[in-house]
């Protein structure tokens, strides 16, 4: 599903360059729920960005669905993110002028599907994350936990094979954080229909919260850009 082979990532050049990842080998198989932990600046977010194709490795290969991200064009990477990957951010990244429902269905409409055709799916997802009464609310009318639930619903809208969450509880109180993790656990157990094949969804969570990380069946610890 996802394979990191001798992946290194360096930011900048010359003496001021920063090595975020150093020759990482790492793979994710279908159905896995993995927590990536480590101190600030250890390369957790960089790993997630490389996994989503938002960034490319300086050396080595990140292979998703059998093809290296460096061999894909920008459009291919974009379509891969749209159709295969669900992204969840620490600061929710909802569009403030769209309602909760509009935010959720956004990835699907990008494929040209009319709102009316996908609205029911969006509503269903919002109901599943406990926001049945919040379809028409705008982000500034939602609490942090509710906003993150909308972000999760949006990430699930395209039924992705890989769910990538970058510090999803970082901006939330502990109770809300636990609710969010519970939701992610619930969704990670689902199977996904991809190219006529049933596959289990994989989930990768970046967190520095040990309590949350401890709930993941598999933990990957990073330090100074290397897996411990």
């Amino acid at each position: 599903m996802l394979q990191f082979t001798s992946v290194s990532k360096t930011y900048g050049e010359g003496p001021l360059s920063v090595k975020a990842l150093r020759s990482i080998d790492f793979s994710v198989t279908p159905g896995e729920f993995i927590a990536i932990t480590g101190p600030s600046g250890c390369g957790k977010s960089t790993l997630l960005h490389l996994a989503s194709g938002l960034d490319l490795p300086s050396a080595g290969q990140v292979v998703i669905d059998g093809k290296a991200t460096s061999d894909r064009s920008d459009d291919e990477l974009t379509l891969m993110r749209r159709n295969r990957i669900g992204l969840i951010f620490q600061s929710f990244n909802l569009i403030p002028t769209l309602t909760a429902l509009e935010n959720v269905v956004l990835p699907a409409t990008l494929s040209g599907r009319p709102f009316s055709a996908i609205a029911s799916n969006g509503k269903r997802l919002l109901e599943r994350v406990g926001l049945a009464a919040r379809f028409s609310h705008y982000p500034d009318q939602l609490s942090g936990g509710e906003a993150q639930r909308v972000a999760i619903a949006r990430a699930l809208m395209m039924d992705p094979l890989l769910l990538l969450a970058d510090e999803p509880t970082g901006n939330l109180d502990s109770a809300s954080g636990l609710e969010i993790i519970a939701l992610l656990e619930e969704f990670s157990e689902e199977t996904v229909h991809a190219d006529g094949v049933k596959l289990s969804r994989s989930t990768l969570i970046v967190t520095h919260d040990e309590a949350i990380a401890s709930r993941a069946p598999r933990r990957v610890r990073l330090k100074d850009g290397q897996i411990l």
Partner: protein, 824 residues
């Protein structure tokens, strides 16, 4: 962007003002040169001679000084016939009143040489050089009484003379001028000092007595057209104001976080206000300096257009110099700085008022709030402006203030309209369209003020061309109809070349009409005399028509009676007898005189009362015209010349061939020019086009400002949505989709601007411009949709809207995703 748009705004103002001032001073120089220190100007009206003996009678009053002056128009007998002014004066008398002081009293030494040169004339150095004439040589001039040869007695040494009437004038002795132009014993006006109005009136009860210095009617008309340019510049400035407001607002918004931090660490509201306004003061000052420099350059171009336009009406303007006066610099600086500060005040005050916490917490980008109160105020102001324009009939300056009020009222209403429209469209798009157009719309609705002002800026700049053209087309349509129903002629022969100067005053001898009637191929000929006379203090046009041959010509052309009331035998009899006249519609409107009433005219033969038989469409003169029998005109105004000979070409004859024969026959004894209907139409169209083209230059600059506004708005929208665009890209929006979304914003703005440009332009042409035109001229034009301009505006709106979006769209497409989603 702010500096550029403010620079252009100030440049438009400076260039308009400078060109108007340059034109005014050039015209005034001509007027001043023929002005003396006299207290009164006594005449029988324009283009009508007054007996010189009146000057003698006035001069007999103890303590009085009188200077009789003859001003005669002529045409040079050269390959390119030029209009020329013969100035007949008595040097001895003229020097008493410091007459011609602006030309050169010192040159009156040279004028003395005139007495020693039979048929002598003094020329300007410029004219002599351009026509290759030397002292002692001969100059052939057509004076309307045939070709006359003047002997060049010398050249006027004062170089300032070259700037007057294009340098195309000459000074002759009064007696010489009277003899050679065929006005023995007559002068055009008498300048009088040392007597009262009552004393003059006592000696000459039928005389018009005015203070000297009054510009001629044609000059006033030309100046009126030039002044209309100021209206365009006011609109352009208003357009610029909104753009600047937009830019300032966005600039302040961009810095809201900085402002919030400053407030959080202890900066007072006053300190924030002072800091930001100081910045905009500096921006305004810098832009004004650039604007003055650019505007002065542009003024040169505008002056050239102005010169051409004025000179096609009357040769008054030459070598107009663009002068940047300290007053203009001061006013421009005030306008530039004032505009920047006025535009900055609202957003800066809002920024100073804001609570730091509101800005520092996430989701500070609020959804659009309601602008209903502002819209209600705007609506009331709009009604007030509309009422002022259509009902107050005040000065053009007051009208411009009302237009500015309307413009600002729309600026108050429009943000709320954008919100309402946005909500409707939003619902439609969510249910029917894909998210691309929806996101573009969403981007525009994030800042309804900015979107509204951008659309207004762009739309209003486009509106100017539609409004101007709508009025001009209305004028064309009206005059076209008038020409087709009023005139039965195929060829018109006149004393001046109208393609060089529309308001030439050259006349033709009456005997020319029967001569031209004999030209093979001509089946009808009638004479027309046009002269100006004073009515209630205004110069109105008297049009004398030789009725019988005119009616014959109409019959030959199978044309219905015009004016239609002539079909009534009683009206026909009255017109024939000279007791009745017809008024042009604008005469009737301007002086509020209706058919059936009577008008009293002061004529050289004494006061005359005429019954108004009817009123009719007539566009001969913007201050009003009346149509009278030629014989009555000649008797009452003691006139024996004509202005045109109108000819009807016999059926089956070639117009071009007959015209050549007419031209040949007419030129036997005097300078005369033959024009067919199409040529006359082309000349009037070209004068219109030149006037419009002056306005169009400014409209183009305004459109440029408008486009800058669109680029600015979309670009700033992109910058403000960096994080959002990064998110789009992160969740699967391709670069090309981002580009399309941003370009769609340009299309939306273009669509709305096209709507404003067309609808607002038609409204602008229909209400304010038409009202101004009516107030000034009494003409009421129909509403004409200028389809080519409408098409052009729609094309420009969409084309420029998309073009304006290209740069921001490319920038948006290249948004670095990780940096964008990381930015707060």
């Amino acid at each position: 962007m702010v500096v550029l748009s403010l620079t252009l705004g100030v440049a438009i103002f400076v260039s308009s003002f400078e060109s108007v001032l340059a034109a005014e001073s050039a015209i005034a120089r001509t007027a001043n040169a023929t002005q003396s220190t006299a207290e009164w100007t006594v005449s029988y009206g324009n283009f009508v001679g007054i007996p010189e003996k009146v000057a003698d009678e006035l001069g007999a009053i103890k303590g009085s000084e009188t200077v009789p002056i003859l001003e005669a128009s002529a045409v040079t007998e050269t390959q390119h016939a030029r209009n020329f002014l013969i100035y007949g004066v008595d040097p001895q008398r003229a020097s008493h009143q410091n007459h011609l002081s602006q030309v050169s009293v010192a040159d009156f030494g040279a004028i003395a040489s005139l007495a020693e040169t039979p048929d002598g004339i003094l020329l300007t150095q410029k004219f002599a050089a351009s026509e290759s004439v030397r002292a002692g040589g001969l100059l052939s001039l057509d004076t309307g009484k045939g070709l006359r040869k003047f002997r060049v007695a010398g050249l006027i040494s004062d170089p300032r003379a070259n700037h007057l009437a294009s340098g195309a004038f000459g000074i002759a002795l009064l007696s010489t001028a009277q003899r050679l132009v065929g006005q023995p014993g007559l002068v055009d006006r008498i300048e009088v000092s040392g007597v009262s109005r009552a004393q003059i009136q006592n000696i000459c009860p039928t005389c018009q007595i005015e203070r000297p210095g009054k510009l001629g009617s044609a000059a006033q008309d030309a100046l009126g057209r030039i002044h209309s340019l100021l209206g365009v510049s006011v609109l352009a400035l208003l357009v610029g104001l909104l753009l600047i407001y937009n830019t300032v607002q966005v600039s302040v918004l961009d810095r809201m976080k900085d402002i919030a931090i400053l407030r959080a660490v202890g900066a007072t509201r006053f300190q924030i206000l002072f800091l930001l306004l100081s910045e905009w003061l500096a921006v305004g000052a810098a832009s004004s300096v650039f604007g003055i420099l650019l505007g002065s350059g542009m003024a040169g171009l505008l002056v050239e257009y102005t010169r051409r336009t004025v000179n096609t009406m009357v040769p008054l303007m030459a070598d107009a110099k663009v002068e940047v006066t300290p007053v203009l610099i001061g006013v421009s600086m005030i306008i530039g700085v004032g505009t920047a500060l006025a535009a900055a005040l609202v957003p800066v005050a809002a920024a100073a008022r804001v609570r730091p916490l509101e800005i520092l917490r996430p989701y500070a980008y609020r959804r659009a709030r309601s602008f209903v109160p502002a819209a209600v105020v705007g609506f009331l102001l709009f009604c007030l402006g509309n009422y002022g324009i259509t009902n107050l009939h005040a000065s053009i300056e007051w009208g411009l203030v009302m237009v500015a009020v309307e413009f600002l009222s729309v600026a108050l209403i429009f943000p709320q309209i954008v919100i309402w429209l946005g909500r409707i469209l939003r619902k439609q798009m969510v249910s029917r369209a894909s998210f691309g157009p929806f996101l573009a719309l969403d981007g525009l609705l994030k800042a309804p003020h900015r979107t509204a002002f951008t659309i207004m800026t762009f739309g209003c700049s486009l509106m100017m061309t539609v409004a101007t053209e709508s009025l001009v087309d209305g004028f064309r349509k009206s005059t076209g109809t008038w020409m087709s129903v009023a005139f039965p002629f195929d060829i018109s022969v006149m004393g001046n070349d109208i393609s060089a100067s529309v308001y030439g005053t050259q006349v033709l001898p009456q005997k020319l009409t029967p001569e031209l009637a004999k030209v093979p191929g001509i089946s009808g000929a009638y004479s027309v005399r046009k002269l100006f006379t004073s009515f209630r203090g205004q110069d109105v046009m008297a049009i004398g028509v030789d009725l019988e041959p005119y009616l014959l010509a109409r019959r030959e052309k199978n044309m219905k009676m015009w004016p239609t009331e002539l079909a009534d035998p009683e009206a026909l009899r009255s017109f024939r007898e000279g007791t009745g006249v017809f008024l042009s519609d604008n005469f009737s409107e301007l002086f509020q005189i209706q058919p059936g009433e009577s008008i009293q005219m002061q004529t050289p033969s004494g006061p005359k009362t005429f019954r108004v038989l009817g009123k009719t469409d007539d566009y001969s003169w913007p201050h009003g015209a009346f149509i009278i029998g030629l014989k009555e005109l000649q008797t009452s105004w003691k006139d024996d010349v004509i202005s045109y000979v109108d000819l009807v070409v016999a059926p089956g004859q070639s117009l071009a061939e007959v015209k050549t024969r007419v031209q040949h026959a007419a030129k036997k004894n005097q300078m005369a020019f033959a024009f067919d209907r199409q040529e006359i139409r082309d000349v009037t169209d070209s004068v219109l086009e030149q006037t419009v083209s002056m306005a169009n230059i400014q409209a183009i600059i305004a459109i440029l400002i408008g486009v800058l506004g669109v680029i600015n708005a979309i670009w700033i929208g992109v910058v403000n949505r960096q994080r959002e665009i990064g998110l789009w890209r992160a969740i699967g929006v391709t670069r090309w989709q981002v580009v399309r979304i941003v370009l769609s914003e340009g299309i939306y703005i273009g669509f709305a601007a096209a709507l404003i440009g067309v609808v607002g332009g038609l409204y602008g042409g229909w209400v304010p411009l038409r009202s101004f035109s009516y107030d000034i001229t009494g003409y009421r034009y129909p509403l004409v949709v200028p389809w080519p301009q409408v098409g052009m505006v729609v094309f420009l709106a969409f084309g420029l809207g998309i073009a304006a979006g290209i740069f921001p769209a490319r920038m948006a497409g290249k948004t670095p995703v990780l940096e964008a989603i990381a930015c707060e």
